[in-house]
Symmetry: C3
Subunit: 344 residues, 3 copies
């Protein structure tokens, strides 16, 4: 991951001309403010770390346009609208070097059904398995050991890391990015007790990921009982998330790690679910709903609210109840002394 | 997933003759009440959706025997004891078409040890690995990229989706169904601090799944420290569940997604654990115990109770405490004004 | 898993000469106190089970040095400092028989890049994939279907079970032990909203596991946005754990199943996180911090504390609040009757 960039090259990558101070060397790495050395690029992405800027030894620091300080001697600041996004532009250039797109073609150890259609520009890595009637679009990358099932579709420009499963009949739109171990299209968890037995309910629907959906490592998305489980365009899902059958998630939602969404629940657009939170089944959440980490939501909620706790309630009330609950020892004492004073 | 069924064919599949109304066409799909069109089959499986029946455009609707309404013009009702189960019978017929049983035989890319015994009627998919002394029963299906370890046993009629691990010495009974990425037989998490080091405790037991156990995608079941981790007959486990070493689960339990059960805990029969709930180690739960979503149980409980919250308590009390906790702001005000009135 | 050991052999394995009673036969198995038969070895590892010792039918029982009882007729006790650790020594001897180290060499079905360096003493199992410039150290075991990415390093003596991913550029120290399905080096979950789109922030750092780190099945550890995600020497991680980008975990921590640690958080040494607990991002935890099961920590904490609940607070206070919360019904009644008596 060696870098070699001077300030002019950095400014060009970022598209900023607001360079302050004099850094005459070459940047060879990226590091946090506290850990950076004189040949590192750093950035003030989170206001929490503002106090670390003045003492940082970084050669170049990306700071917000309105940041008040000045660079130290031999150091440069590049002022940008969003330091975190500006850094991402630098990182994207490096990423392209670290992960050059693999050459088109099918690895000789891949097992590809004769009726599958693999675009000539796609890369199919070693030991992948592609089922009958499957379709692999233009520019797709399947790293090693992936499985694309019968009649499954992987849209153009998708990049699947190793060991990803796209089960039979499931469909990915364009430019989806899936991390290792993702399972798209496992059976929904549907059982019906009858006659002293638990009968499995066949799960004959599929999963549809619309364009630009990202999915984190070892996340599982179940196929619908019938019809479709749908993840909307531009939604990003973190690691070890569970999405049950017939869930429908809107556009550009952020679903963080270890979240669980139970069956047949619908989320609007732009929702944000905190880590380890859960949403019960058969619910409807409006657009822009937010859920705190570890919260558990059990009721329908309209657009725009922020909920927390288990069972989840509006976060303002939840915060207030947490504060009050810590005063319970005092309250109990107060009531006891009231009772005592009245008994006296 | 194209269907083509008239009402007589549907009635025959379901075993009901209680047909009302006149639907003269052919059913081509299955959809929810709200989304169904005139060539779809729908059903009233959850009373929550009863109000959606009258307006549904579905050609045929499966309704409970005592449902009060009447079909619209050109629409038919099929009255059944359990609409959800009746739908499952239709879906099973479709499932058999979507997932015909693969032909018997071992794919040439599978790596099968010479001492493994694979029944002639079993199907071993591409890139599977089968270890020394392993046994694969009659009619078993191993989809692609599965691993069956040394001396492991997969009982007759089991169906393992791609990428399933049955580690060395573990045993599956008959007709188990495992989704992609399941790990049966990972090491238990056992360590012993001694002499400033953390020593690993070898985990030399195995895992036994009895007959008719289903396991969801990327779920992990640890092998016992010694003896066995046991999942009882007919128990169904959802995705991303963690079952620790030496756990014993009874028969016909339902373990929903992201549940964790810590080491050496024993569950009775017919238990139901809600999503993301957890059970501490070395506990004993009686038969028919239920645990709410996200609950955390830390004590032994007898048969039949329903527990909720963290730490989990009987759900009646838990529900009451939740209601009261939301009245804390009022209570604090009330007590403050009592104090003030007495001080006055 | 057949054993055949007499008391002399057991005493030698354990390094104890404190043998009491007369067991003249041969031990053929290991079982819990309650389940052991006359040819089983058992142990009193957890004081909770002390009452089960006198009635146990085990042929030989490992008991603490200060255990008060005496063996039954035909039964022997071996007194040891730590029965659980002593049992581990016996199990280690058995483990070596159950899992003999596989022979050195590369399976013919493995796909190994010509520029990868595989030590001659390493074992590379069937259907593994090893990328360009990767390095596999002395005595390493890669079981079937593992992936070691471009320029990744697996240190000497590591043992990777089947289906493990060590993604590009990640590094493992010596003697790490990874269970099936582990993903080391998935992308961090980094996105930046800008211009109505959600932009992916490239994740160009890596993951470093220091020496003697163990990782449980299907656990995911994300690569750093830049620099490194680090797991300290001797730390042990259970199944289905999520460790986000840029997390740094100290030495000899125990991270139990289904824990989630959000991005850029730092843990000291000897921390213990209970099952299903979570730690928010950008936090610093001191050495020896403990977190209860299902707890959620949202603030920095100094060395040595034990926290519980969501949001997590010192466990003494948390235990007290739980007790008081269960008395809320009484408190509400008391206050109502105070109000009534004052109104009267």
């Amino acid at each position: 991951m060696s870098i070699s960039l001077n300030t002019q090259q950095l400014a060009a990558l970022i598209g900023s001309s607001k360079l302050e101070g004099e850094f005459r060397g070459t940047i060879h790495g990226i590091a946090s403010l506290a850990e950076a050395t004189s040949t590192d690029l750093s950035f003030l992405g989170n206001p929490k770390y503002a106090a670390s800027v003045p003492g940082s030894k970084a050669g170049v620091i990306l700071v917000p346009a309105d940041y008040a300080g000045q660079p130290a001697s031999g150091q440069a600041y590049l002022r940008v609208a969003k330091p975190s996004y500006a850094l991402a532009l630098v990182c994207a250039a490096l990423e392209a070097k670290l992960w050059p797109k693999p050459a088109a073609g099918i690895h000789p150890t891949a097992v590809v059904d004769a009726t599958a259609v693999v675009d000539a520009s796609a890369h199919v890595g070693p030991l992948c398995v592609i089922g009958a009637g499957a379709s692999i679009g233009a520019g797709v990358v399947l790293e090693a050991q992936c499985l694309v099932g019968v009649q499954a579709v992987v849209g153009e420009g998708c990049w699947l890391k190793n060991g990803v499963t796209i089960a039979d009949y499931c469909r990915l739109g364009a430019r989806c990015r899936l991390q290792a171990g993702v399972v798209v299209g496992s059976d929904g968890f549907g059982y019906e007790p009858a006659g002293g037995q638990i009968h499995r309910i066949p799960q004959i629907g599929n999963v549809v990921l619309e364009d630009d959906v990202d999915v984190g490592a070892n996340t599982t998305i179940d196929r619908a009982r019938f019809s479709q489980t749908v993840i909307g365009r531009g939604t990003k899902i973190d690691n070890l998330v569970q999405i049950a059958h017939n869930v429908r998630i809107g556009r550009q939602c952020l679903i963080t790690a270890q979240v669980g969404i139970a069956g047949s629940t619908t989320l609007g657009d732009f929702c944000v679910l905190g880590g380890q939170s859960g949403v019960a089944g058969h619910l409807t959440l409006g657009d822009r709903v937010q859920l705190g980490a570890q919260a558990g939501l059990f009721v329908d909620v309209p657009a725009g609210g922020f909920y927390n706790g288990t069972p989840a309630i509006p976060i303002g009330l939840e915060r207030r109840l947490v504060v009050l609950s810590r005063k319970l020892p005092d309250l109990f004492k107060k009531v006891d002394s009231l009772v005592a004073s009245l008994d006296a």
